[in-house]
Symmetry: C2
Subunit: 241 residues, 2 copies
Amino acid sequence: MSERVVPEPQRRRRRPTRQGVVLSRELIIDTALRLIEQHGAEALTVRRLGAALGADPSAVYRYFHSTDDLLLAIADELIGRAQAGWRPTGDWRADLRAIGLRIHTAYLAHPQAALLAAHRTTGRTHETAAVEAILGVLRTAGFPDPEAVAIYHAFVDQSLGFAALDAAALALPAAAAAADLQVWQASYGRLDAATHPHIAATAHLLSTDMRRSGYPYALDLLLDAAAARLAGAAAAATEKG
Amino acid sequence: MSERVVPEPQRRRRRPTRQGVVLSRELIIDTALRLIEQHGAEALTVRRLGAALGADPSAVYRYFHSTDDLLLAIADELIGRAQAGWRPTGDWRADLRAIGLRIHTAYLAHPQAALLAAHRTTGRTHETAAVEAILGVLRTAGFPDPEAVAIYHAFVDQSLGFAALDAAALALPAAAAAADLQVWQASYGRLDAATHPHIAATAHLLSTDMRRSGYPYALDLLLDAAAARLAGAAAAATEKG
DNA sequence: TGTGCTACGTCAACGTCGCCGACATAACCT
DNA sequence: AGGTTATGTCGGCGACGTTGACGTAGCACA
């Protein structure tokens, strides 16, 4: 086989499939995303994708080297969607909060792809744009460079980490996901107060709280701490100068 | 079939396999961890596990209902190793910091397994013990229950999220990992100051900072914010009472 | 020491998966 | 109009998780 995939710009012969569909990378990515969205993460198999497209499953390999290649392409699409239309307001805290929540929700909209995407450094245009935007918010807010970089690092990795964690939970097969949720009511709700007093005292709070993502609260904690450090840096500068 | 698995305490007939190995849940878990460690996460299949054990693959189903069941057992084992030997000191902040770092390092010791396990709720003994310990630290420190639960949630998911993220980086094939690191020097180091002023101004800081995990710093930020909220709650209580 | 029960290791098989080599044909170029 | 070749289709390979049936070896009890 050696090279089955032809780069998109060189494609010229758009032969329709037996069922009359004209394939393209874009169409395949959109169809894959729709498949994940409608029928769950485990529905994305090459055979099912072929069926959904109205083409032989192996036709997908004319456009992507492997399913991993396809998933990375989907991931790249997600990064673009997360950033689309964002503009800074000048309020650093509100801006960072908005960016964080955007990343989180964009990834969670397509958990399967998020799992693969979250931990890679691509260096591509969408990524560099995001890095520049976040650093810009921090530096114009008045954070000294070393602090700005450290907070940038913590902020981004926390966002991606939570996104990956929450995406993974969503990407679970339905049965496993239900079981995981059930644990908080079943197991933790019935633990003996003698052996596990703290869990017993807060079981009702736990079972409702663990249903939601912990990200928004964690994000607020991070922004709180950052604000405190900014105030500290400003005070030190005033005192000194 | 209905029930193939016999609970561990009721096992009595320890028949060796054809190759002379005496199976047990513990042996299977250890072997699975070793398999993942040596040959990557994708090497954990029932067939390969059987081969590594010196037993028929289906023998695994005498000890675990499914591969997911096995995975949960592995996850709980990792939690157990993280907590092994930990004792509270009475200083809530130091205690939480120690637990967080323990979780992080325990998962990073088995990056491939961490990737599979970090996002599961097991409800098993090691996990409940860890939950009880963390909640205990927070509640005896004086956090009101709702706040204790919220901070618990943020703390745990932050630890697991970073663990998963950093584990993923460690688990990458050597070539891909090197490429990812290189990006920070190559791509980001050469961006034009006109189009990306903030990155250009901090490129040297970025390339050194992104080499390390952002977790310790993010953890400190979280603890800072928690301490501030505890102080606020204490002040409100004093004022009121 | 012998006998019966059954836990547990083994075997073969099912349906699914990703992926690939070979083939056929329609779209384009000249 | 004819040749080239990109691209859709077909059949099949090896691996996957999982299961039902089978046999045998270990234990309990005599």
